[in-house]
C-alpha cells in the first residue's frame, strides 16, 4: 500500500488499463473462435425441473437441448380405473401454480363425455375462478420469475431492497388472484369446491362484493404493472411463429372456444387429436407436441393476445396501445407485457362478473353417468390445456390424454435459442447463459405440468 498519493493513482490507472486490454483481447478472440458449451444444470425461476445444454461451434449453434428431467409421476396411467368425478381433484395435483386450469379442463371434458353443457351463473363462476388464477399466476410470473431478468437480479426477494413498491405490488396482486380462487374454490392450491356439474357451494353476493372492492385497487395495480414492464429493455428478437389459442365469438378465451392459429388452423376442440401429435425425445421426460402439418407452435399469453386482441377489455386495449403493443407482436421477450395486459383484462372481467352475478338455483346440476368420450380445451395461464377422457357406463375412467401448454412450447423454446443466440454470441459466457435462461423464461415454463403430455392407449 503506497502512501504517496500520486503513485497510488498511477498504479490503479495502470491496473485499469491492463484489465481493459485483457477484456478487449478476450472478446476479440471470443468473436473469432466462439466455441463453447452453455450448461445450466438446474433452471431456476421456472416451475419444475429442467436443464439447458447449448453447443456453440465457431459462432454457430450446433445443438440446443431443453432437458426436462422432471421425474414422471405417471398420472395418466394411475388415473385409469379412478372415477371420472375424481378427475378435477387428481389432475389438480399435476401443478401447484395452475390447478384451476386442470380442474376446468377436467370437469368440462367429463361433462362433454356425459353430454352435459354448463351455462348461466355456473359458467360465469367458472370464468371468475379462472380470472383469479390468471391474476395469481401472471403476477407470480411477471414479478417474481421474469422481471428479475430484466432488472438484473437473481430473484424478487433480492429485488425487494431496491424495488420495494414494485415487489409489494406484485405480491398483493398475486394475493388478490388467490383471494378469488380461495373464495370460489375453498383454497388457493388444489381447490376443493370444483366438481363435475358445477360447485359444491356457491358464494354469496356479499362475499363477492368484498372481492369487488379489492379489484378496484387491483385494476390500478395492474395498469401500473403494464406501465412498469413496458419500460424494460427488450432484446430485438423476432421470429415467424405459428400462434395457437382458443377463440370465442364474444369473449377473450378462458374456458371455451375453437382452436385457431395465425396460419389457418380453425378446428373444434374435439378434433385436437387429428391435428396435433407428440414426439418422445431422449433429452426430455416431457413429450414434444407438434402440429402434424407444420411442426412447432407457440401457445400462451402472446398467442392469445395476437389472436384475440379485439376481445380484450377497453382499458386493456388502451393500455396496450400506450405500451406500443399493437398486434401482431412477434418478440417473445415482450410476452411479459402480454402477461401484464392479461392481468389487467382479468381484473376488468372479474369485476364485471361480480357486478352481474346472480346466485344459481343449485350449486351443481345433476349428473347422470353414461359411457362416452369427452374433450375439453381451456386456456391455462401458460396456454392451451387439452384433456380427453374415455369413460365407461359406471363412470370409471378407461383412458386419459392430457396435453399441457409447456410441452407444446418446448420445440419453440429450443428453436428460439437456435435462432437468437448467434445475434448475441459476442456476449461473455456468463451473460450469454443469462440471456438463454431469460429466453426460456419468456414462456413462463411450467415443467411439472409438461411431463404429463402423455398419450395412453387402452389395451382393450
Amino acid at each position: 500500500m503506497c502512501k504517496i498519493a500520486g503513485f497510488a493513482t498511477d498504479l490503479s490507472g495502470l491496473r485499469r488499463k491492463m484489465r481493459d486490454i485483457r477484456v478487449a483481447s478476450g472478446s476479440f478472440w471470443a468473436n473469432r473462435m466462439k466455441t463453447l458449451s452453455i450448461k445450466v444444470d438446474y433452471l431456476t425461476r421456472v416451475e419444475g425441473e429442467g436443464a439447458l445444454h447449448v453447443k456453440i461451434k465457431e459462432g454457430a449453434v450446433e445443438d440446443v437441448q431443453l432437458k426436462i428431467f422432471e421425474p414422471p409421476r405417471l398420472f395418466e396411467a394411475f388415473m385409469r380405473g379412478r372415477r371420472a368425478f375424481e378427475a378435477p381433484d387428481i389432475t389438480a395435483r399435476i401443478c401447484g401454480i395452475c390447478p384451476i386450469a386442470y380442474q376446468m379442463s377436467a370437469v368440462q371434458a367429463v361433462e362433454d363425455a356425459l353430454g352435459l353443457k354448463i351455462d348461466g351463473p355456473t359458467r360465469d363462476l367458472r370464468r371468475l375462478i379462472y380470472c383469479g388464477e390468471w391474476i395469481e399466476s401472471h403476477a407470480l410470473s411477471v414479478y417474481m420469475l421474469h422481471a428479475p431478468d430484466f432488472l438484473g437480479y437473481p430473484g424478487a426477494l433480492e429485488m425487494a431492497g431496491k424495488y420495494p413498491d414494485a415487489v409489494n405490488r406484485g405480491l398483493q396482486l398475486k394475493k388478490t388472484g388467490n383471494e378469488i380462487v380461495a373464495l370460489l374454490g375453498g383454497r388457493e392450491i388444489h381447490p376443493i369446491n370444483v366438481r363435475v356439474g358445477g360447485f359444491y357451494k356457491t358464494p354469496t353476493k356479499r362475499d363477492l362484493a368484498k372481492i369487488g372492492e379489492r379489484l378496484k385497487w387491483a385494476r390500478e395495480a395492474a395498469l401500473e404493472t403494464v406501465r412498469w414492464v413496458s419500460g424494460f429493455e427488450f432484446p430485438d428478437c423476432e421470429r415467424d411463429y405459428e400462434f395457437v389459442a382458443l377463440s370465442h365469438p364474444s369473449e377473450y378465451p378462458l374456458n371455451e372456444g375453437r382452436l385457431v392459429s395465425n396460419k389457418g388452423l380453425d378446428i373444434e376442440v374435439s378434433h385436437f387429436d387429428g391435428h396435433f401429435t407428440e414426439e418422445h425425445v431422449k433429452h426430455s421426460t416431457a413429450l414434444h407436441s407438434m402440429l402434424i402439418q407444420r411442426g412447432a407452435y407457440f401457445v400462451g399469453p402472446l398467442a392469445r393476445y395476437n389472436l384475440n386482441y379485439d376481445k380484450l377489455s377497453p382499458l386493456a386495449r388502451e393500455a396496450a396501445e400506450a405500451a406500443g403493443m399493437k398486434p401482431p407482436c412477434l418478440n417473445p421477450f415482450r410476452s411479459i407485457i402480454a402477461r401484464a395486459l392479461e392481468i389487467l383484462h382479468s381484473c376488468d372481467e372479474a369485476a364485471r362478473l361480480i357486478e352481474e352475478f346472480e346466485m344459481p338455483e343449485k350449486p351443481a346440476t345433476d349428473v347422470r353417468v353414461r359411457e362416452g368420450v369427452g374433450y375439453a380445451c381451456t386456456e391455462a395461464p401458460r396456454g392451451i390445456l387439452y384433456h380427453r377422457y374415455r369413460i365407461d357406463n359406471e363412470g370409471t375412467l378407461l383412458d386419459a390424454r392430457i396435453v399441457p401448454p409447456t410441452s407444446q412450447n418446448q420445440k419453440t423454446i429450443e428453436e428460439d435459442l437456435r435462432q437468437f443466440i448467434p445475434k448475441y454470441s459476442n456476449l461473455s459466457k456468463e451473460k450469454l447463459t443469462a440471456f438463454c435462461e431469460h429466453a426460456i423464461r419468456n414462456y413462463d415454463p411450467c415443467i411439472s405440468c409438461s411431463t404429463h403430455a402423455i398419450r395412453i392407449w387402452d389395451s382393450r
Binding site: 431456476t44 428431467f69 421425474p71 409421476r73 405417471l74 394411475f78 426477494l157 415487489v167 405480491l171 431422449k282
Partner: protein
C-alpha cells in the same frame, strides 16, 4: 430476534407439483418478513441464488421416484442440520405412490413411446423411507399458516404446533354439521390429520384425506361406516388409495378391503 446470525434455509424439490414451494410464496403478507429473518440459500422457484451448504434448515417437497433422487436426498441430509418434509409427497409418497400398487414397467411403457429413455424406480416413496426426518408437515397442499408456524417455531427454538388429531375436532369448533351423520356423505375426516380447518365439510363435501392419517386412525371402523352408507367396496378402496395411499395405515386398510 433470537439469533445473531441468520439461519440458512434451503428448499428442495423432488417428484411433486411444486405446490409446496408455492405455499411459502403464497404467504404474500409475510414473505418479505420471513426473508428478513433467514438467509435463503436455495429456493429454485423464486431465486437463482444458490449458496453452498451446510444448511441450518432444509425443507423438502416431493417424493423419491428415481435413482438420482435417492442419491440427492442423502447428500441433502448430510448437509442439513434440521430437515423437514413438507406436503403429502415428501411425507407420505404422494398421489404418484398409486404406481406402487401396480407394475411401474407396465405404466411407463403405456405412457412413453421409448421406455428405455425413462429411468424410474418401482415405487414412489416418502423421505422417511430413505433418511431420518426431523419434522413432517402434512397436507396436499399444506396449510400456509402451518408452514409459517413451523419456520417461526424453528427460529424461536420451540416445538411447532400442528396437532395430529382428527378433522372432527375442527368441524365441532366451527359448528359444521357432520356431513356423514346428517347427509350420509362418506367423509374421511374421522381418521384424517387436522390442519386444513375442516375445509371440505365446510363446503358440504366429504373429506378426501389430503392431510393423511391422524395419529392412531381407526380405519376399519370407518370402512364399515362407508359400507353401511352404501359405498361400493371399490369406492372405499379408492378413498384409502389416494394422496396418502402409501402410508401404512391407509395401505393396510385398502389391502384388507381388496381381499374381501
Amino acid at each position: 430476534m433470537p439469533r445473531s446470525k441468520k439461519p440458512k434455509l434451503a428448499f428442495w424439490k423432488f417428484a411433486s407439483c411444486d405446490g409446496c414451494q408455492l405455499t411459502l410464496l403464497d404467504c404474500e403478507d409475510e414473505l418479505l418478513a420471513v426473508a428478513n429473518e433467514i438467509e435463503i440459500a436455495n429456493f429454485a422457484e423464486a431465486s437463482s441464488t444458490v449458496l453452498r451448504g451446510p444448511y441450518d434448515i432444509s425443507i423438502v417437497e416431493g417424493s423419491i421416484t428415481t435413482p438420482q433422487e435417492e442419491e440427492r436426498i442423502h447428500r441433502i441430509r448430510r448437509s442439513s442440520k434440521f430437515l423437514m418434509t413438507i406436503g403429502a409427497c415428501a411425507s407420505g409418497g404422494g398421489i404418484q405412490s398409486l404406481r406402487n400398487f401396480k407394475d411401474v414397467r407396465e405404466f411407463v411403457s403405456i405412457v412413453y413411446a421409448t421406455p428405455a429413455y425413462i429411468e424410474t424406480l418401482n415405487k414412489s416413496t416418502p423421505m422417511k423411507d430413505h433418511i431420518p426426518v426431523d419434522f413432517e408437515l402434512q397436507g396436499c397442499p399444506p396449510n400456509k399458516y402451518q408452514l409459517l408456524e413451523v419456520i417461526s417455531a424453528y427460529l424461536y427454538g420451540r416445538k411447532p404446533i400442528t396437532p395430529p388429531y382428527s378433522l372432527c375436532l375442527d368441524c365441532k369448533r366451527k359448528d359444521i354439521v357432520c356431513v356423514m351423520v346428517a347427509n350420509g356423505i362418506p367423509c374421511m375426516g374421522p381418521i384424517t390429520h387436522a390442519g386444513c380447518g375442516a375445509l371440505c365439510p365446510s363446503y358440504r363435501r366429504g373429506c378426501y384425506s389430503c392431510f393423511g392419517p391422524k395419529e392412531a386412525p381407526n380405519t376399519g371402523s370407518l370402512s364399515a361406516w362407508f359400507s353401511s352408507l352404501g359405498s361400493p367396496n371399490q369406492d372405499i378402496i379408492r378413498s384409502f388409495r389416494s394422496y396418502y395411499g402409501w402410508t401404512e395405515a391407509f395401505r393396510k386398510e385398502s389391502e384388507v378391503l381388496e381381499k374381501s
